[in-house]
């Protein structure tokens, strides 16, 4: 069956450290993968997109990798700050639609 999993429901890290979130998928063949941020009571907000032929993408303190052999994406936030605390969702394109992972709730502790 088709599945998207994110490594943990919740992740706590200390301010200044690098947060690493994992997204694994099964039985999908995405052309690209995306990461979104969702704050409580708000809709998800697009952060980064990485295509199947790209190994790595960066945007400021964010870095995403995409390994189509392992069927995995890693999402890194370097020099994390309390303001980075949120739920992070990965998403795959699937035909005309998008399929989302369950999300990881990140807490950056001061």
């Amino acid at each position: 069956s088709q599945k998207i999993e994110q490594n943990s429901e919740a992740l706590n890290i200390q301010e200044g450290k690098t947060a690493t979130l994992t997204c694994n998928y099964t039985n999908y063949s995405p052309a690209y993968l995306q990461w979104y941020r969702q704050d409580p009571g708000r809709g998800p907000v697009f952060l980064l997109l990485i295509r199947e032929n790209e190994k790595e993408k960066r945007k400021e303190r964010l870095k995403v990798t995409f390994d189509t052999t392992l069927k995995q994406s890693l999402f890194h936030i370097t020099a994390s700050q309390p303001a980075d605390s949120a739920t992070y969702l990965c998403a795959l394109d699937h035909g005309q639609n998008f399929v989302f992972g369950p999300g990881t709730r990140l807490s950056v502790l001061p």
């Binding site: 052309a31 995306q34 809709g43 998800p44 697009f46 969702l89 639609n97 998008f98 989302f100 999300g103």
Partner: protein, 115 residues
């Protein structure tokens, strides 16, 4: 900001009553989506539209219908609301192309409670 407005933002309704949620966009996007988000399930697609009067079912379409009579409006109707439809509903549009990659922009959500 993709110019997406959802209404109502909050609603409490009784079991068995019909409910309509409205999504309005201002930027003429072709694709529009309705998702629901529940603890333990994440975001799940209910219905989507790829143009005026062109709609299709998503993963969890039972008990829901949609209509798109104008490009800017996408309506989600719960024909006879049940407690299992208590959820947060997000409207979304997609922007981009197959070659560059499409991204989704979400509205602020509609909180629906069925009692």
């Amino acid at each position: 900001d993709a110019g997406i407005t959802q209404s109502p933002r909050h609603k409490v309704t009784e079991t068995g009553t019909p409910v309509t949620l409205r999504c309005h966009q201002t930027e003429n996007h072709r694709y529009m989506y309705w998702y629901r988000q529940d603890p333990g399930h994440g975001l799940r697609l209910i219905h989507y539209s790829y143009g005026v009067k062109d709609t299709d079912k998503g993963e969890v379409s039972d008990g829901y219908s949609v209509s798109r009579s104008k490009t800017e409006d996408f309506l989600l109707t719960l024909e006879s609301a049940t407690s299992s439809q208590t959820s947060v509903y997000f409207c979304a549009i997609s922007q981009g192309s197959r070659s560059s990659g499409n991204t989704i922009y979400f509205g602020e959500g509609s909180w629906l409670t069925v009692v």
